[in-house]
C-alpha cells in the first residue's frame, strides 16, 4: 500500500481534512469537483509504486513533500491572487532576489552584530518583510496605478532577476560557512519525523484555508473575482482587498524563500526559474479558475504535490526517454484538468 504523500502522520492529516471540510460546500457536486486532483494524485502514486518500490517509502515521500513546500507555499498565496482575478508572474524572480538579499544581509550582519544567530533570525524576518513590500508595490501599481497585473508583474519579473544578477555579478551569492551551518536546520531538521518545511507548508495551507473560507475578507476576494463591479456596489473596498492579496502572496514568497536559503545556501541567476509557472499550474490543476471567482486551497496543495510527484516518478524510473519528461508532465496536467472539468 502506498502511503499517501499528501497525508503524512496524523496531525497534518486531520488538518488537511479540516481544511477540506471547511471548504466542502454542502452540495455534493462541489465535492466531486474538488476530487479531480486527488484522484489524479492517488492514481499517480499507485503508478509510481508499481514502477519502483522505492517510491512508496517514507523517505521518498518526505523528500517530495519538502521539495513541494516552496512551490506549495507560494501557490497558497497565488491562489488568493488568482481567485481575486489577478495574476503574479514575478514570484520566481522575487524569491531569487529575496534569497540574494537575505544572504547578503546575513553575511554582513553576522560579523557586524557579533551574534550569528541573531543575524540569521533577522535575515529570516527580512525575507518576509521584503516579500510584503514587493507585494505592496505590486498591489499599489495594479490598483492605484490601474495597470494590468500581467504587465506589472511581467515588468517586475525582469527587474527582480536583473537586480539579483547585478548583486551577484552574474555569479552566485553564497552564505558564509558557519552561518550556513547555523541556518541549515531550518531546511534539514525534522520535528516528529516531519521536515520543518513540510510543517510550515501545512500551517500556511491551514491559515490560507481559514482566511479564504472562514473570514469576510476571503468572501470579498471571491466576490471581486466573480464580479468586481457588483463587489464595488456592495461597498467592498476593492482596492484594499486586492492590494492585500498581493501582500499575502509576497509574504508567502518570503516564507518560502527563508526555507529555501538554507537548502543550498546560495542564490544565483537561475534560482527560482519558472517557479511562477509551477505555482500558477498548481493553483489551476487544483481546480481554481484562471479567470478568478472561486478556488480551493486544498486543491492547490494537492496540485502542487501532484506536480512534484510527476517529476519524482520520472527520476525514479528509466523506461521513458529523458527527452519526453516534459511531455509526460504535460499529459498528466491535461488529464487531471479533464478529470475535474466542472462548471464552465
Amino acid at each position: 500500500m502506498p502511503p499517501e504523500p499528501q497525508t503524512p502522520p496524523p496531525q497534518p492529516e486531520a488538518a488537511a481534512a479540516a481544511a477540506h471540510r471547511s471548504e466542502a460546500k454542502p452540495r455534493w457536486t462541489e465535492r466531486l469537483h474538488g476530487l479531480g486532483p486527488v484522484i489524479g494524485l492517488v492514481l499517480l502514486c499507485i503508478a509510481g509504486t508499481l514502477l519502483n518500490s522505492d517510491f512508496a517509502t517514507v523517505d521518498n515521500a518526505m523528500n517530495v513533500l519538502t521539495r513541494t513546500a516552496f512551490i506549495g507555499i507560494i501557490a497558497v498565496g497565488m491562489c488568493f491572487v488568482i481567485i481575486s482575478g489577478g495574476i503574479d508572474l514575478s514570484v520566481g524572480s522575487m524569491a531569487a532576489l529575496i534569497a540574494g538579499s537575505v544572504i547578503m544581509f546575513i553575511n554582513w550582519a553576522g560579523p557586524a552584530s557579533g551574534s550569528p544567530l541573531m543575524a540569521v533570525m533577522m535575515g529570516a524576518v527580512l525575507a518576509v518583510v521584503l516579500g510584503a513590500l514587493f507585494g505592496l508595490a505590486h498591489g499599489l501599481l495594479i490598483t492605484k496605478g490601474r495597470i494590468e497585473p500581467f504587465i506589472v508583474t511581467l515588468g517586475t519579473l525582469g527587474i527582480f532577476r536583473a537586480y539579483l544578477t547585478y548583486f551577484a555579478d552574474g555569479g552566485a551569492l553564497t552564505l558564509d560557512n558557519e552561518l550556513s551551518d547555523l541556518y541549515a536546520p531550518v531546511y534539514y531538521a525534522s520535528l516528529a519525523g516531519i521536515p520543518v518545511p513540510v510543517w510550515v507548508f501545512v500551517i500556511v495551507a491551514i491559515i490560507g484555508g481559514v482566511i479564504l473560507n472562514r473570514t469576510a475578507y476571503g468572501r470579498y476576494v471571491q466576490a471581486i473575482g466573480s464580479n468586481e463591479q457588483v463587489a464595488r456596489y456592495a461597498a467592498v473596498d476593492v482596492d484594499r482587498v486586492k492590494i492585500l492579496t498581493y501582500v499575502l502572496l509576497g509574504v508567502c514568497v518570503g516564507i518560502a524563500t527563508l526555507l529555501y536559503v538554507p537548502r543550498l545556501g546560495s542564490a544565483s541567476p537561475t534560482t527560482g526559474l519558472l517557479w511562477e509557472l509551477e505555482a500558477i499550474a498548481a493553483v489551476i490543476v487544483g481546480g481554481t479558475a484562471l479567470k478568478g471567482g472561486a478556488g480551493s486551497i486544498t486543491g492547490t496543495v494537492v496540485g502542487a504535490i501532484l506536480l512534484s510527484v510527476i517529476s519524482n516518478i520520472l527520476n525514479l524510473t528509466s523506461i521513458i526517454s529523458v527527452y519526453l519528461n516534459a511531455a509526460v508532465q504535460g499529459f498528466v496536467i491535461i488529464v487531471v484538468a479533464f478529470l475535474q472539468r466542472g462548471r464552465r
Binding site: N52, D54, T57, D59, N60, N63, R67, T165, Y166, A168, D169, G170, G171, A172, T174, Y188, R263, L264, S266, S268, P269, T270, T271, L273, S311, N312, L314, N315, L316, S318, V322, Y323, N325
Partner: protein, 321 residues
Amino acid sequence: MTTFTRRLALTAVATAAFAASLPALAAERVNLGVSIPAATHSFMGGINYWANQAKKDLEKEHKDLKITIKTAANAPEQANQLQDLSTVTKINALVVFPFESAALTKPVAQVKAKGAYVTVVDRGLTDTSAQDAYVAGDNTAFGKIPAEYIVKQLGGKGNVVALRGIATTLDNERMDAFNAVLKGSPDIKLLDAKYANWNRDDAFKVTQDYLTRFKQIDAIWAADDDMAVGVLKAIAQAKRDDIKIVFGGAGAKDMVKTIMDGKDKRIGADVSYSPKFIYDAIKLTAEARLKGEKLPATTIIPSVLITKENAKDFYHPNSPF
C-alpha cells in the same frame, strides 16, 4: 554594471559620431563588436566578466582599438543587436558567442557580408562560410576526461550516475564522449543519466531521487560545478558515504579552491572549460586585425584535467565563476 551600460551607450553614440565624422581614419582602426548571452547563470556570468576584462585590458594596450560589448537575453534579441552593431556602431570585426547555432547563422552572415571580420565562439554556426574563424572549448574532452578519471579511480569497477545539462548538441557531445570511454570498462555501470538543466536546485532533486533509487553509487558525474553543489548537498542530507567521487566540470573558482585545499576527498579533480576562452577569442581577433592578419580557421581551447598539482593556474578569485 549600470554605469557600464551607460558608458556603453555613450561610447556607442560617440563611436557612431566619430565614425561618421572621420571615415578616413576608420579604416585603420579596429572597431570590434562583442555579442554574448546575458549573465543568466554563473557560467555566462563568467563569460560577461571575461569579456569586460578583455575590453579593459586591450583598450588600454591598443590606442586604435575600440570594443563594444552587447549582451542579449535570447536568440532574437541577439540577432537585433548584431544588426545594430553592424549598422549603427559600424563594427569591422565581430566576436560572437551565439545563443543557438542555427538561429544566429543568418544574422552573423549578414554582418560578415558588410565586410566585418567574424570570429565565432563556442557554438559553431550551421554554415561555416558565415564566419572567418572559430574558437571553442573542447566538449569532447569535457566528457572524456571525467570518464577516464572515474574509471581510473574506481579501478575499473563500480556504479556511476550522471547528470546532464539542457538538451542541446553540446550536451549530447559531452555525454557521448563520456559513454564512449565507459564502453571500454564493462565493469563500470552507468545506472542512469537525467537532465538537471545546469541548475543547482534541479541537481539537488535529481540526486535525491538517485539516492532513493540506487543503494550503491560509487561516483557521480555532475558534469558542471554548479550542479556539483546541489549534488553534494543532497548526499549530505541523505547521509550517504558510499559515493567516492563527485566530478563537476568547467572549473568554477569555489571548486578549484576545494581541490587546491584538498577540502573534500570526493572532489579530487575537475575539468577545465573556462569562460576565459571569450577573453582569448577577443584578444586573438583584436590583435590579428590590428596587424591586418587572419586567424586560423579553428582554434580549440583545450579542456584539461585540473588536479591539486595544477589547480592554482585555474584559480581566478575575482571572476564571478
